[in-house]
Amino acid sequence: MLEVRDLTVGLSGGGAEIVRGVSLEVRAGEIMGVVGESGSGKSTMALALLGYARRGTRVTGGSVLIEDTELLSLTVRGLRAARRELVAYVPQDPGAALNPAIRIGNQLAEIGDRAGAGELLESVGLPGSREFLRRRPGELSGGQQQRVAIAMAVAARPRLIVLDEPTTGLDVSTQRRVLELVRDLCHGSAMAGVYISHDLAVVGNLADRVTVLYAGRIVETGTVGAVIGAPAHPYSRALLGSVPSTRERRELVPIPGRAPQPGEQSAGCRFTPRCAHAIAECGTREPALTLAAPGHAARCLRIGERLGRTETLVLPAKETTEGADAVLTVSGLNAHYGARQVLFDVSFALPRGNCLAVVGESGSGKTTMARCLIGLHDRQDGELSFAGARLPASAGARGREMQRRIQYIFQNSHGALNPRHPVGDSIALALRHFFGLRGKQAADRVRGALERVELPERFAQRYPAELSGGQRQRVAIARALACDPTVLICDEVTSALDVSVQASVVELLRSLCEDGLSLLFVTHDLGVVRSIADSVVVLNRGRIVEHGRTDSILGTPEHDYTRALLADTPELFTAPEPGSVPG
């Protein structure tokens, strides 16, 4: 069905290659998962499967064969037809990829036929009514938008569908429904699927086979069972080590170093500098893709050797004395947006030195709750108390000391740092504000704060745009730490990050918590919750439906909503059998 040979995509100027000699085969009715970190070239490769290269890049070699059509040698007109009838693309962010000015019925009619638009929408689980077809993308929810994007992709009944992280912005239950839809479409109608993701758990649950991409190269490919059950490349193993589980409190192992940029020259295996098993030869010779088992190949010199497995450590739950010494308590909290009430009688306590997770889907009110605690949401009533004193609802009324001791970290670190200041200045500003520190004293503290988040001192001079997502989030954490806080409120701080980067941020926060910092961790990701949180509050439609220790809530959930959330969360690891030795 799809046969890719030696596909290479480079920068237009020549030289740097983003995708290097990728070969893939996907059969009809089969889903191939493509996994890699940001910058691995997976999106560039996905677009090249449609004969498309972004501005500034160029497909420089190889072949993309779909059925009997060579996509890379088609005329403009032929390529246009192929992009409807042979291959379709589902984007990562349908909110940006659907034209905001055109009604979805008209957008669907451009690709399929107008008469079938309603039926098409019903096939992806949306209402096919005339009223719905007349809506514009802005009038739909994120999940609905992604369904519309999928409906558009399959409208002309293509032979291959390429999905580029289509569930990244969705919450777990919507994600599950979209994944089911993709699975039904591919398995049911003999369409081939290529599913790009950084999330191994998602790919592991959806795909039939997996290809792992690193620095534009395939490093491992095989069936899901083989790659996830017995990974042959150290990079695949490292990725697996950073995936959290809802079933056990895992220590997440981040991958040291960073992925190479396109154009960075290396004679050997690109993963060598980050590899725990590298030998001298790895740096000088790039290995070929070699079979580890039938249908399972990896690009590693030491393939077949029994390398010491990276043990995943299952951490013991922290001993907590419930309610004994609460640093932050909330009782009877109600909050409104206009006339709409979004929080109903929320009460809980955050014990000192503990991590409390607040989980729920989008719209459950968890971010509003976090904003109430930091004093950014005015329309609230209820009793907040901090370290034994009453906490006013508005941040302005709290006084400098309380402001300093409760710090907040935003989901979007890009928006939280001033793009026109070096990040060191952003941290120094907080120091000047709270401690009146300037000059050398401030610089020393900035260095100390960066050190605590494991960033080198020279990063103080860099601008936010020069940092990666994970580094920016570390800077945001460093700024909060510089204020010497008692409580850190983290609002979805890892949801925009790759799993491997998420692992390093989670481990950082865990170590801070062990040093005595109290964390309120707002998230929709139950795997991360299991790894970091001591206790959990489950929010549904603004009400707490369950509250207790992490082990009991995620181990034996009592409320239907919690059970549904757990069932919807993709889980990579099978439940540990009693008595079995891990690893």
Binding site: Y52, R54, R80, A82, Y89, A96, A97, H336
Partner: protein, 328 residues
């Protein structure tokens, strides 16, 4: 429910819009009032004795005094301003100092001529800018785009009268001599009875307008063409024409419309220059003549009118900008 009695205003957008518009009108009236004061003071400050301008250099002192009383020049400045303002508000713009015709009557024909010139120019500027700008965005960094950018930059950098003069020299005199270099439209004739006279003035206005607006269009389109929904449209196999006109255009119009109405406002200044280059009998030439003749009532009327037109076009730009912002 909570005892939070804050009124909910989000759910009633219509009165808000009306209130906003009301404020704009109020500010407009206030602005125009200030402008009228400025105009009055500025024209009064012009050198020269009005009575002497009316009567010529050989007038006797007695006659001069009589005319001063007749024109109210012996009264205080405030009284004179009040007299003028009351006239403006009741539709009486005064009489020309030179030929003693009512200003309104004198300017009506001129105003129509200018309006015809301006409207024709705008009707051409808008679609032409859209097409050239769109094409430049589509062919970004290619030869056409770079040529357009360069030449439009030059056209905008030149003083306004240069383009008109060059056009007149090229097509009206030595080189081709196919069109009249001056637009001699007799009073009482409608301008479109003399289409040949209109061509060059309109061309000059269009070149200046397109040079400016097409660059704004280009930038707006480049923004839109870089968006993910355009990439998706390409990946959906749609034709380039469909992508440009159906997918990009509606989204690019958002930032373009307010810019276009601003261009319309700035064209007023261009109008004065172009009319004078081609001796086109509009309010632009009337203004320059009146300033030369110290015909104060005419100067005051024209400047007040232009200020009002400028304000209206600017407000239109604001309204359109607001509308696009609210739709996002």
């Amino acid at each position: 429910m909570v005892a939070n009695a804050e009124p909910i205003i989000e759910s009633r957008p219509v009165p808000r819009v009306l209130r906003w518009l009301g404020m704009r009108v109020l500010f407009g009236v206030l602005t125009l009032f200030l402008v009228s004061v400025l105009i009055f003071l500025a024209t009064e400050a012009l050198p020269g004795d009005v009575a002497r301008i009316v009567l010529g250099t050989n007038a006797t002192p007695e006659k001069l005094a009589a005319v001063r009383v007749q024109l109210g020049l012996d009264q205080t400045l405030v009284a004179q301003y009040w007299h003028w303002l009351r006239g403006v508000l009741t539709g009486d713009l005064g009489t020309s100092l030179i030929n003693h015709y009512p200003v309104g009557e004198l300017l009506a024909g001129r105003l129509l001529n200018s309006l015809v010139l301006g409207v024709f120019a705008l009707v051409l500027i808008l679609p032409l800018s859209l097409l050239t700008g769109m094409l430049a965005a589509r062919l970004r960094d290619r030869f056409y785009d770079k040529t357009l950018l360069g030449s439009s930059m030059i056209a905008n950098a030149l003083p306004d009268f240069v383009i008109g003069t060059v056009l007149a020299a090229l097509f009206g005199t030595t080189l081709f001599h196919v069109l009249p270099p001056v637009a001699l439209i007799p009073p009482g004739d409608l301008p479109w009875w003399h289409p040949a006279d209109l061509v060059l003035p309109i061309a000059a206005m269009v070149i200046m307008g397109v040079a400016y607006l097409s660059r704004l269009v280009r930038v707006a389109f480049i923004d839109v063409l870089q968006s993910e929904y355009i990439q998706q449209a390409v990946l959906n196999g749609l034709s380039m024409r469909r992508i440009l006109f159906r997918h990009a255009l509606p989204n690019a119009l958002g930032p373009i419309t307010p810019a276009a109405s601003l261009v319309a406002a700035y064209s007023l200044a261009g109008l004065i220059v172009v009319e004078n280059v081609f001796s086109y009998p509009g309010i632009g030439t009337a203004l320059v003549d009146a300033v030369g003749n110290h015909d104060l009532p005419i100067v005051q009327a024209i400047v007040l009118f232009m200020a009002a037109a400028f304000y209206v076009l600017n407000t239109l730009a604001d309204v359109l900008a607001n509308r696009t912002r609210r739709r996002r």
